[in-house]
Symmetry: C2
Subunit: 451 residues, 2 copies
Amino acid sequence: MEQFQLTEDLINNITGLISSNNTSDLKNLVKDIHYADMADIINSLNELDGIYLIKLFDSEKTSEILTELDENVRERILKSLSVKEIAGEIKELDSDDAVDILNELPDKRKNEVISEIKDDNLAGDLIELLSYEEDTAGGLMAKELVKANENWTVSKCLKEIKKQGENVTRVHSIYVVDGNEKLIGRLSLKDLITANSNRLIKNIYIPKVDSVDVNEKGDEIAKIMSKYDLEAIPVIDENKQLLGRITIDDIVDFIKDEADEDYLIAAGVQGDVEADDSIFELTRARLPWLFLGLIGGLGSVFILEGFEEFMNDPSYKALFFFTPLIAAMAGNVGVQSSAIIVQGLANDAVKGSLINRLIKELGLSLINGSILGLLTVVFGILINQPINLSIVISFSMLCVICVAALIGTSVPIILHNRGIDPAIATGPFITTCNDIFGIFLFFYIAKIFLL
Amino acid sequence: MEQFQLTEDLINNITGLISSNNTSDLKNLVKDIHYADMADIINSLNELDGIYLIKLFDSEKTSEILTELDENVRERILKSLSVKEIAGEIKELDSDDAVDILNELPDKRKNEVISEIKDDNLAGDLIELLSYEEDTAGGLMAKELVKANENWTVSKCLKEIKKQGENVTRVHSIYVVDGNEKLIGRLSLKDLITANSNRLIKNIYIPKVDSVDVNEKGDEIAKIMSKYDLEAIPVIDENKQLLGRITIDDIVDFIKDEADEDYLIAAGVQGDVEADDSIFELTRARLPWLFLGLIGGLGSVFILEGFEEFMNDPSYKALFFFTPLIAAMAGNVGVQSSAIIVQGLANDAVKGSLINRLIKELGLSLINGSILGLLTVVFGILINQPINLSIVISFSMLCVICVAALIGTSVPIILHNRGIDPAIATGPFITTCNDIFGIFLFFYIAKIFLL
């Protein structure tokens, strides 16, 4: 009942037993450890020790551990296993986990592993699952499920689902299909047990069942399952034929991965990287957005050059000291606006027209901008800055804040309406646009009033 | 089987029937709509229509709809209900949902509702649940569960769990307790059904069961449940007494809420706001970080003033045109570094010492900084900038990038080690620090080489 703790002592103990080749003590030490914890242990061992350890287990436990390993550790371990061994692990797994592993193999190896699988049904299922895109219902579903034909009797059904149930880790629902494998409803276990054994399933099933199309996107499925509190949902094709089912544990992983990705994208890190990835992978994930920032920064060099005349005027050259402030305000306000909209779009919480939303943002920006502007005037008085300069700076900043908020709000909505993921709009993209635009606007307005 | 669509037609239809007070047609129209979809409908109606509609249902469906409404809509509807009516809804709900609603009532009303609940057991459960902190196991758990005493016989157990099961929406597990209500294991339904009816539970239960302490934090519970693919987990106190259970659907909601909150915090929006909240709420969520940005921006005014002498030199005044570039680079690099670390800390993926991590960040920054610096030199050549100035600008930028990465990496780790949520470190805080520090460093290095 104690939570497992990955201690240094345990790791030292394990590496000690590995180096002295003491397999019997080692097996004893790890035999009660959950496969997810075993994966954590192997993640923190070196490659050879990890392979030594994972080969101690039977293929059932090995396969479960494989699914929980870090991707780069799994890659190395898979390389050290033969095609036959991998096929052995694959057979032990649920089809959705099996396909996730197959997808990580090079194409040639993937095909070799599939041809090594003697069970034609399983091989066919895996080839089907491999054909769907990741992050769609097809890519997330497993083929294992419990289904009943509407023409079966209750007694035949009980026998059949007992057989089917052996391959299914958890039976959430019994799905009912017609003679053409079309999903038509579901069956309650209680109704099945209490019904007369000669009755037909078609007379006792519930003709209402949620389902998703095989091409449905993962985030849509996550929304449906969490909205209706479903623990599993069947997947159908365009002819309503039952293809598989998705369980909530896969959706939990999906939601977490998506949230992680959105978080990193908003911070200007693209792709699925982790703190422990190689310098090369991290550079590739980070350089593109920094490059965009460079373009923006060099663009503002030109803009500032265009307002060089302020520098020759002793009373106005202070404007240049305010460029970091203006860039920061434009960037921060834009990121705030876009983050709220991106989040709202993801949660279907953005209602009403674009115009109304922009009016609201404008109101909000006027409040925030006025407060910040007032503080800037006070700051100007404290540092003995000419009052007219302070007022122009504050007014320009107010305008920059308003425009930044409008850009931050409208860009994600426009992208969303065109079917582009608005998440890319937050972070560096909006910041860079707003930096340039904000600085230009600031000096332009100052020029109107001061020169 | 069709997914529900919230159309304008449907809304118009409903508001039409409400204004003509045609309750029978209205009831007919909405009777098959799922409570989560009904909540969406009521969210988009005006207050009076929403109250009219929700009062059409029996308290079972009304209570389910209440739990799914937007918080501000629910608040208004609760205000329009009597204490007696609210108590009626509360009684229909699982205790965790009931407590969530009670928590939204003003203290006085909360107590009135609880005294209105005649069922002493339920009232006691609710008072207990109200005493736990939100986002801990106690705040997330429900009291409804199915448990068996180890001293029961199989036949008594079957009778008891049938009775208990009536109050539990989904039976995930049967928990086994000893005579002191201490959790000692769980029971498989299959073992229970196949065992001889005179056998004692203590002879057939499984003495291994995951559990969490009542004070465990929500994100820890989410990690445990998703790691071990659990659909429910029992909650115990320090004496191992069984207090309640948490189901995966609540954890899904928790994970989503946390991810939303972290996303907004990283964008400089604090608190739990949504796009459709009032201008006042949004201002309050956004102004604090903008204020921080203002402080930072005004701080850099002083720094830039300190390097005013560059402005008097025609060959070096161009340095001031590069301040937005430097601020952007410092900010972007810092946010990238901190986001990767914050994410890694949340996923327990940050291994190894701080020193090793800083060395890695330094290597990465040298690569990124050198590439960006080289491009900046090329840019300088293209705009006929003196080559020594270009080289100094690029070198200073490289230093700024390295320092920004080190700050972005170490601040979240230091906060984490002191038990402070590192999420607050990304976004505006790191950006503002790095802006100021980056600009200072840039001009300071330029001064060493140029003046």
